[in-house]
Symmetry: C2
Subunit: 357 residues, 2 copies
């Protein structure tokens, strides 16, 4: 169905009918000038926001809309968890060009609802409007935490251990794989067009690239998970990180933020960078240095955090958390110790949409 | 300066240096995964968000960036005031195409800061990223109010008086004037190009259309003000509206929202629609029905609210507030009483970006 048949308010009604709110703190959701929340007494409120633009942040030739919706929510919840807070509400704004149908936007919303349900988050409002070209998605997430539980980027101290959850570089390798297959597919279409072969064209339409053995890196790119489970595990283990952030632009870039805001340096060890087998295999196939991918890849949405050295045994015993180095005095700089014992200055080569590459 | 010379973090640093936070409830602003707020005990939090797209919501050929920034903030504060709440914080997300320079974004921010300073609002964070074409602006505003002070759209009761602040249709007439001058200018440029006259081209570059006597309608379009002053006046007069919203899409459209959500009908009087002289003069010049402009024009950002009939004397005594009709039972429908006493059903012909016109 064409969106223009429904108009803004018809589309909002249609999307809103599947949205119910569950948090006690959500008093009114969609339908007034503002949503109304009742913050828990004595708690701090945290707020984060992201703006995703078609062609810059996502490519709809290979990203299904349902996955895109899921990811758009998850990347914001990831920021809330990175404060050691619990996400409670999100607003969702969309600008939609005329190439989209009502069903497309319902797919996108289905993914958003799924991500919200996973973490008990309410969709409380937003804006639904038109765009001349492409899709724009703006999400704002709101969470809460006790003041003493909040973890900022600025609290790392020399001798603190540097930890990361999960593994690094997989989402980046998934992106490289999707981009490669897109180029191949486009070349085949171009060839079929030149030869004028209808059968070849038909065959292309129904073929899917063979991604077997690469499912993990694709999932990491297309359907990332915010690590609320790690926040919960740390809490249960009685660990309060001294600093924390989520890895969205790449480990190097995030480490530079933590060290700058904590006024420290750091040493991390190449051999300790956690890697999945599929990440390493794909890097080898594409002739890329897997450590570089792990350091600068981005979109991992894992947690990077620091804990006092005295918690070494406790943190090392946690499944899926890896100690990769330690915090130093600021004058020591930021260094990567390579497998051969060499010391290299860390550079932020992570994703920077506004920088010339 | 090219934005690519600074990159995302350099640009954020540059913009953030002029931003200080003043609200006691703003604990941390820009610089971490989330901003941190400390909501006032016992108060409700309200949240609203808007996504503005170049070419759909604004035309940079005649909208100065500083005005655009001011307006982008004001339209969100207007939603907060429409809940009878006080705005406290905003997040600002921008997606910027390569045609913009650092100085452009600083201009945009200067306007945003000005609007925020006017109402004591803190800019607490956002996202600054790239776009393939044009500018996208996403603002989320956060405010607070005591639970018993909040005014929803759903509380209007039969016999309540319908009131509007200020006057209607001026912003729409300002837009028509700007659009007309744009067409004229483009035709002159086209003609100069065809004739190959360099002098003509030079002359065009330095000419400004003569807007004297039209300053008010232009200001209403380019630099709207959120009516926080009316909220304050009503509070001082001891008036608690039964329902309220701001007029962004046009009076008819907003009245339909209030009547639908309050399950009522309404009668409004054409002769009571508040109009400015410049609005009427411009409508006549463009051969438009001024009442239609006032009913459907949009972007007035005036407040539409209802009060019990018993407050007639009090509300009528308030400067810049006008009683335009009253709420009826739902089965009476929504009607406009024309100057000649005729009764016409109200239709929402206001701005709907997703509807075919």
């Amino acid at each position: 169905m064409e969106i223009s048949q429904l108009g803004e308010f018809g589309l909002i009604d249609r999307l809103a009918k599947d949205i119910t709110t569950k948090n006690a703190s959500t008093i009114c959701g969609i339908g007034d000038d503002c949503a109304v929340l009742s913050p828990t007494e004595g708690m701090r409120t945290v707020v984060t926001t992201d703006l995703l633009m078609e062609g810059v942040h996502f490519d709809l030739t290979y990203v299904p809309l349902r996955h895109l919706g899921y990811k758009a929510i998850m990347v914001n919840l990831s920021d809330v968890f990175a404060m050691n807070a619990q996400p409670r509400q999100v607003t969702v704004s969309l600008a939609i060009s005329s190439k989209f149908q009502v069903e497309d936007i319902e797919e996108l919303y289905a993914g958003m609802r799924l991500a919200c349900e996973k973490w008990g988050v309410d969709i409380i409002g937003g804006d639904t409007t038109a765009s001349l070209t492409g899709l724009a998605i703006s999400i704002t997430a709101i969470g809460e935490a006790r003041s003493e539980d909040l973890v900022l980027r600025s609290g790392a101290k020399p001798t603190d251990l540097i930890c990361v959850s999960g593994n690094l570089g997989a989402a980046y390798m998934g992106l490289q794989l999707l981009e490669r297959e897109k180029v191949i597919y486009n070349e085949q279409v171009e060839e079929a067009r030149r030869s004028g072969s209808k059968e070849q064209m038909e065959a292309l339409r129904s073929t899917q690239p063979d991604f077997s053995g690469r499912e993990y890196i694709l999932e990491r790119q297309l359907k990332p998970e915010a690590r609320g489970d790690i926040i919960e595990t740390l809490r249960k283990a009685g660990i309060h990180p001294t600093s924390m952030m989520d890895i969205s632009d790449g480990l190097s870039s995030e480490l530079m933020h933590i060290c700058r805001q904590s006024q420290t340096g750091c040493r991390i060890y190449e051999e300790r960078l956690p890697l999945d087998y599929q990440t390493a295999a794909m890097a080898e196939e594409l002739n890329l240095n897997v450590s570089t991918c792990a350091l600068n890849g981005g979109e991992d949405y894992e947690l990077l955090f620091t804990v006092p050295l005295s918690l070494n045994d406790t943190v090392s015993a946690i499944e899926d958390v890896h100690v990769i180095g330690y915090i130093t005095e600021q004058d020591k700089g930021l260094a990567l110790i390579t497998r051969d014992g060499g010391e290299h200055q860390l550079k932020a080569q992570g994703w920077n949409p506004l920088k010339e590459s």
